[in-house]
């Protein structure tokens, strides 16, 4: 008659696939957030107004746009939960909070990856940067690792904001300083991938290690901390 606790992994998988299905269905990301990211890239071009500079700073602009977009995506991923108070329903079910955290983070990683692909393509077109095949390999590695860090921190502080109702404005204040290492590491590595200022591919890989450490540390830390930050 009675149910048993579902495993953390089942919960994580269920939550992640549910989130992605909702995004696929609602098209909010594609119809609203993606155009936002694109216009940010275009506005950067107006603000800087010089082809030479744009080419030089393209990697930084791509990752700044990712960072701003991630704020919106994180807020959106918790808005889904609070629209009809599904967050409460999940809590009442006694679901392991580590599973919720991992599920939310995995879905965020996937969404961020989509945005990075589009933003890099835009940079190739709008800012006239070049990308070799070796650069693609580096860029994909960088993106995946950077996303793990971004998503973990985003899910953690986004969850805190959602639990403390009406205080969603806390997210940028907590998230942006914390993910500075991701911005620095990913930007420098992307400079190598784009070959900006004569940077070679080899210079990019040490930054990958920084991103990996960051992702591992906060992926793990977030799994432990999420329950405390979001419950009661």
């Amino acid at each position: 008659m009675k149910r048993h606790s579902t495993s953390t992994w089942t919960v994580a998988r269920t939550i992640a696939s549910k989130d992605l299905r909702i995004e696929w269905r609602s098209k909010v990301l594609v119809n609203q957030v993606l155009p936002f990211a694109a216009i940010v890239m275009v506005l950067f071009a107006f603000a800087l107004d010089n082809d030479g500079i744009l080419q030089r700073v393209a990697p930084g602009l791509v990752w700044l746009a990712v960072l701003f977009t991630s704020l919106i995506i994180v807020q959106r991923t918790f808005a889904i939960e609070s629209a009809d108070n599904a967050l409460d329903a999940i809590k009442v079910a006694g679901v392991p909070s580590a599973g919720v955290f991992i599920g939310k983070s995995v879905a965020l990683v996937a969404q961020l990856l989509l945005f990075e692909c589009v933003l890099v393509l835009l940079a190739l077109v709008l800012y006239q940067v070049h990308l070799s095949w070796g650069g693609v390999v580096l860029l994909v590695t960088v993106s995946v690792l950077a996303n793990i860090g971004l998503a973990a921190m985003g899910a953690l502080y986004g969850g805190l904001g959602a639990a403390a109702k009406g205080r969603e404005t806390l997210l940028p204040l907590l998230l942006l300083p914390a993910v500075a290492p991701v911005l620095i590491g990913a930007t420098r590595a992307t400079e190598s991938a784009f070959g900006v200022g004569g940077a070679s591919l080899g210079e990019g890989w040490p930054w990958v290690a920084l991103l990996a450490v960051f992702g591992a540390l906060f992926g793990f830390g977030g799994t432990l901390a999420f329950g405390v930050l979001t419950e009661e």
């Binding site: 008659m1 579902t6 549910k18 269905r25 108070n85 599904a86 409460d88 009442v92 006694g94």
Partner: protein, 219 residues
């Protein structure tokens, strides 16, 4: 906790919403298998009482245990056996009823047969099942939420105004489901304004006044 026979035991429970004591030293014992009707004015603390039993609100003072689990220390264990239907339905509006059911089926480990049965019971036929929740009426959403509640197979059911927004057929269906659950051994606590309908079900009535529990006798 001493006795496993009690579904709910509150002793001088205080629950704060901000600095407001929504429950002010409420005491209540509910035996297993009872169907308890909670009445009371708006703001008396009915919803807070249910949310405390569901482990959604922390206890500021006093003692609270549910199904033998101390809510202060064994909240997650208690929650595995508690199902709640609150004012909100807890559904994902962009997903269909079927997808919502499947999500919960996967979370709680229900078989697809069980989900289909439950959907059928709540009158969710196949066309409705494939409608996004956002396009459903209030009553249809309520039925979907109830279907999910049924597959939770909880030992303690907490319902906050379950009849709200339902048509006559839906209301009858709720009554039948609650009776069945009680027969199967579940304990049910219902907060409702509709005293005659819910009262017919109940084995006992209590009233919440000013954040405290007042017994209104056995039916």
């Amino acid at each position: 906790m001493s006795s496993g026979d009690e579904a709910v035991r509150l002793r001088n429970a205080v629950v704060l919403l901000g600095s407001f004591p929504a429950l002010a030293e409420a005491s209540l014992v509910v035996e297993r298998g009872e169907i308890v009707l909670i009445s009371g004015a708006n703001g008396a603390g009915k919803t807070t009482l249910l949310r405390l039993c569901a482990g959604l609100l922390p206890l500021a003072r006093g003692e609270a245990s549910v199904l033998g689990f101390n809510l202060a220390t064994q909240r997650k264990e208690a929650q595995l056996h508690v199902g709640m239907l609150g004012h909100a339905n807890g559904l994902y509006l962009d997903l269909t009823a079927q997808e919502n059911l499947q999500f919960w089926g996967s979370i709680v480990g229900a078989s697809s047969r069980e989900m289909a049965l439950s959907a059928q019971r709540m009158g969710l036929h196949s066309r409705l099942l494939n409608t996004p929740v956002a396009k459903m009426s209030a009553g249809q959403r309520r039925r979907t939420a109830l279907a999910i509640l049924v597959i939770r197979r909880a030992s303690l059911w907490l319902l906050d105004e379950p009849h709200a927004g339902l048509d006559a057929a839906g209301r009858d269906e709720i009554d039948i489901i609650l009776r069945e659950a009680a027969t199967a051994g579940a304990t049910i606590i219902v907060a409702s304004h509709e005293l005659e309908r819910a009262g017919a079900l109940a084995t006992r009535r209590i009233e919440v006044v000013g954040g405290a529990v007042v017994e209104r006798g056995v039916q």
